[in-house]
Point group: C2
Chain length 214, copies 2
Amino acid sequence: MKIPKPTVRRLGLYYRCLARYKEEGVNFVSSQDIADRLNIKPSQVRKDLSYFGEFGKRGLGYNVSKLISEIARIIGVNKEWNVAIIGAGNLGSALANYPGLAKHKFNVVAMFDNDRQKVGKKIAGIPVFHISELNQKVKELNIEMAVIAVPESAAQYVAELVEESGIKGIVNFSPIKLRTNIPVEDVDITLSFETLAYMILKNSPVNIQQEEQV
Amino acid sequence: MKIPKPTVRRLGLYYRCLARYKEEGVNFVSSQDIADRLNIKPSQVRKDLSYFGEFGKRGLGYNVSKLISEIARIIGVNKEWNVAIIGAGNLGSALANYPGLAKHKFNVVAMFDNDRQKVGKKIAGIPVFHISELNQKVKELNIEMAVIAVPESAAQYVAELVEESGIKGIVNFSPIKLRTNIPVEDVDITLSFETLAYMILKNSPVNIQQEEQV
DNA sequence: TAGATTGTTAATCGATTAACAATC
DNA sequence: TAGATTGTTAATCGATTAACAATC
């Protein structure tokens, strides 16, 4: 069955939402409960879950602990992932320093750069290797995901190296569309700022963009 | 007229794509040219642009420079934006150090935290103020956007402070859905890793999740 | 049993794409 | 004029939501 992309993303939201309920000592929740916290419709929650099985009890709702472990299995949160960051510049270093990743079992085990100055150093305790060592280290350290945090001009080339190395997926922070045969998730920070800028302008009373006014 | 959200986001992509064409010395491009680089359909490009006006010439395509400035006007890239980062922890500091923002005229002019240890210091040259000074500094420095980079537990409260301060929009890096009356753009890094994890698992030959197999 | 809530179908909504007349 | 490409309409596709029978 074809799973909608937004459903997969929401699964992650459900997971966190349920984790919070668990912390609060709640044992059973309804689709309505979850939907309220996430500002969506309860039928959306039920529909999303129904792609993967029947996890609830009619009249009762969902067992929080059980649903957490089901979702964890589905989105692969019950396993640890070894991650390489390609590009030891500002953004790459920032991600290496970001504890949110390790917290969710995405372990950054290596960084790669083509700058010999950086190779051999450590950033946030993570060793920086030369990009030519990629293939070897991927096998040695069992790396499954790559973060691409290199300049736009190098991104496509790096993506090809990553794919050849046997890495299985990419989180792409560069602002271009990568052409690969492995899954890519784009995180485009600047684009988010630009989208916000548009929304602010659209909201503002003095508005030159006549066309969009309702 | 109602503009689809994905259209607004693609406008930013068009802008960058056109900037590249301009650098390459290209004066006219067709919707096909743009679509090819972004891996989308040419009719999508034309449809998106048509929400805002008629920018092309039949038989010829679009004048690159002209279209760049039209899109810049629409998405507010032709103006500078003053930005505050709330939360001077790992993520906040990383964003302060990230030159990609200033490059796109999003100027981080202040950071805020509730930790008195951090207040008065500078991070990447940007002064850190106590959160209680928010209202005053927003006026003083003409801040229009806030980045929320505080822990989940504080995010909703901070969002309310931000809204009251007169800031017009939020880029939210915390993993919760904020309830505000101003526009919010969510950047959920962990969710992107989780979505990638799902896609890798789905692709892999040994797959316990029978339901999703085609 | 009565009340609650699921899982699922069908209806609706929104976004993408194909097709083509208009026109440079 | 002939060829190319736009702007726009209509068709298609995909995702969300409402509704409700099933059932705890």
